[in-house]
């Protein structure tokens, strides 16, 4: 048995190496045949690869923490794209009125639920000593209700998005600025008193916040980009809600990760079909974003927006890397990925940390969806297709490894392009899956396996 396994592995290695060499030789031959087309293919490959990479990052982050593939991220991608469509229908070709009070109310409810849970987890136990239960409930309820109503208003009146969001963005800017200022002062003058600190940060923060808010309120052109943020956040909130509402209970009892996989497949099915009911199944374009003019580089064309997408993918990757390697949150995430039970014993609130992971993953997926929507078009089925591509990319790259996700995403984009050099373009999907199956047969653990 042992010898045969070793033999099989060696034979696999040799086969894999020769296949890779053959593929590389093919690509080199093709490049010398027509460098122009090769450059154009490379640009196309990078553009779609960036979207796959973003999705794969989301998949990988979640997979490396809870060890199952959350197929909801396909739906999150579609939701990201359709969220922008929902908020900006009036500027879209062929879009009439899709703004539906039920849909707005539903998502407002989800957001309110997530906020309520977050408040509970963050403050309830800590504050319990200082205040009575009743007052805590009232305060939390008010905050939750207010957030829900606010979200509902934002979703229901897309024409005033910039006005409605101005206070929220201003407040966020104020808090961030205040925090930064207090940190800086603490660093510079270690002896500064509490009052000075507070005063300085409040003044700078409120000034900056007001500035941001006013600027935003006066800039209706920002609505498109605000709608990006809103749909990413909503998709993220749905991700958290799914985790807290479903997966938590399933994970307690499940024998295998397939339970969660099937449940998330159900979520994907339901959301895809619901999207088709609300928005019709025909493809639609999103409103024109910046950078839709093509640039010519080395005789080939690439849109500014595609370069932006690639930038987002790389920035997202670096951000995640920083988060995981350099922050305390990242360390807890990795601890949970290594052994959840131990992490729990050490005193990490695993539920909250995992919820944050799900949020980040869903935001990545939503960003991927809306970027690809701006680049080409949106359709309800895009969720399923993007989910498969992101899944392939994360598996090929190496399950649970962030570097792998990025490499896998871009590699998949390239393979799809260069693969159809001699074949007709309609075989693109077949190529990516055949490559996947071949690849997994030889490298079951992916290009850059974890650990």
């Amino acid at each position: 048995m042992l010898r045969s396994a070793a033999y099989r592995e060696r034979r696999g290695r040799i086969l894999a190496a020769s296949l890779t060499t053959a593929a590389a030789a093919y690509v080199v031959w093709k490049i010398t045949e027509s460098p122009d087309q090769a450059v154009q293919f490379a640009f196309n490959g990078l553009s779609v690869g960036a979207v796959y990479a973003l999705l794969a990052l989301g998949f990988t982050l979640v997979y490396s923490t809870v060890w199952f593939f959350d197929l909801y991220y396909g739906a999150a991608a579609a939701m990201g794209a359709y969220g922008v469509f929902y908020l900006r229908t009036s500027e879209t070709v062929g879009g009439s009125h899709v703004n539906n009070p039920y849909v707005s109310a539903l998502f407002a409810l989800v957001v309110a639920g997530v906020v309520a849970w977050a408040l509970y987890e963050a403050f309830f136990i800590r504050m319990q000593g200082r205040f009575t239960r009743k007052s805590l409930y009232i305060a939390g309820g008010t905050l939750t209700g207010a957030t829900g109503i606010y979200t509902g208003f934002i979703l229901a009146s897309p024409d005033y998005l910039h006005l409605l969001l101005a206070p929220a963005v201003g407040a966020t800017a104020a808090v961030v600025a205040g925090w930064v200022v207090s940190r800086v002062i603490q660093r510079l003058f270690s002896k500064a008193g509490r009052t000075t600190l507070l005063a300085a940060s409040v003044i700078v923060g409120s000034l900056l916040g007001a500035c941001c808010g006013l600027l935003l309120a006066g800039a209706p052109g920002s609505r498109l980009y605000l709608s990006w943020a809103v749909s990413c956040l909503v998709a993220g909130a749905v991700g958290v809600a799914l985790y807290r509402g479903l997966y938590v209970y399933m994970r307690k009892r499940a024998r295998s990760p397939l339970i969660m996989l099937v449940a998330s497949l159900g979520v994907l099915l339901a959301i895809t079909a619901a999207t088709a009911i609300v928005f019709e199944s025909a493809p639609r374009p999103l409103p024109r974003a910046f950078g839709s003019e093509p640039w010519t580089i080395w005789g080939s064309n690439i849109k500014g927006f595609n370069i932006f997408t690639i930038g987002v993918a790389i920035a997202g990757f670096l951000g995640l890397l920083f988060l995981l390697k350099r922050t305390s949150l990242g360390r807890t995430i990795r601890a949970i990925g290594d052994d959840e039970e131990v992490a729990k014993v050490v005193g990490i609130n695993t539920t909250v940390v995992i919820a944050i992971v799900f949020f980040i993953g869903a935001v990545f997926a939503a960003a991927a969806g809306l970027l690809s929507g701006h680049d080409t078009a949106i359709q309800p089925r895009m969720g399923l297709l993007l989910m498969l591509k992101g899944w392939i990319a994360s598996v090929v790259g190496g399950m649970g490894n962030l570097y792998g996700a990025v490499v896998g995403g871009f590699a998949l984009g390239m393979v799809e392009q260069f693969g159809i050099w001699d074949l007709a373009g309609e075989w693109k999907d077949v190529i990516s899956f055949v490559i996947l199956i071949l690849f997994l047969s030889f490298w079951p653990r992916g290009l850059l396996p974890r650990g």
């Binding site: 087309q37 196309n44 025909a282 639609r284 374009p285 080409t376 392009q417 373009g425």
Partner: protein, 388 residues
Amino acid sequence: MSIRQIALVCLLGALALLAVACGDDASDESFKIGVMESLTGPGETYGTVSSQAKQMAVDEINAAGGIDGRMIELIVQDSKCSAQDAITAYNKLTDVDGVKIILGTSCSGAMLGAAPLAEADGVVLFSGLATNPDIAEAGDYIFRTAMSDALLGIDTGNELWADGIRTLATITEATDYAEGVRRTSVAQFEKLGGEVVAEERYPSDITDFRSQLTKLINANPDALHIAAQQEFSGGTIVKQARELGFDGPIYGEIVVVGTTALEVAGEAATGVKAIAAVLDPDNQMAQEVLRNFRARYDYVTLPWYLGSAYDDVYITAECLRQTGDDQDADGFRDCLYDITWSGAIGENYSFDEKGEISLSNVVVEVLPLAERTEENQGYKSLGQAPTK
């Protein structure tokens, strides 16, 4: 008995009652006509326009007192754009609703799916939109007021050659309609001595055409020919071809210059040429139909096909007046073979022995974005396509 048992018995009883209560009580005096259009899916735009135009015509006829006092009632089914759905819709119309005359379908693929059944059952299938050349041979009971792509192909091939195009790249949606357009156009183009240097096809549900277009552009063709089933993909292809730096001429058919297609493509569509049937601006009736349609539905797209669908209803009404029976498919068929009609799409046209009409196509060119209006539909006519 416990409450649960009572509840269960009640439930079963209610179900049985429901079953009994849902009998048919039909047979009023109106003529029942089936309609199959692609109301969803790839052919959504023209199926919707066509079905709305038909409803408008029926309402006009009924408001004017119907046919000798009897009203027309349309029974609409969604045939999507596929043969499978057309067969389902056809079976429903004939089995459940018992109609013998069906106006439709919008898509050639759907038409070719339902045609053999209609021919075998002796049901009249009468389309205002399906243009695939093969429909001509589909049978005795199959009619259309849409022109065969055989004509369109000859016109397209001639136009390409006359514009000095010698090498061509084609991108084609994998549907009966688009394949028909490509096949006939390329046949004529090659007959004249042209060469197709690259060809690609795409399934209806993709939105990223860049890899296909990259290959086409790299083959260095004089021009690009687009045969699309959906306005959306037609417009997207034009846009993405320009983004990839293709600056040669682009040719297409009516779908590529449809309202949605032009909106999607934006400025990129300027200068795209299409060979299509266009309503005669001097035809008073056609202009009135368009005005009424705009007043009623607040938009107009694909005006020729709108007019064609409108004419279909009036032709149907005339034949029903002659036969006086909506179950008499044979009489209706004979009436269609004999009729000569003047309507929105032309004067004095009639059906030949294959159930086809023959009118002429013109070449249109898309205007710059600033000059496109609702009135001109975004393009200007360059006159008849050259004959050789």
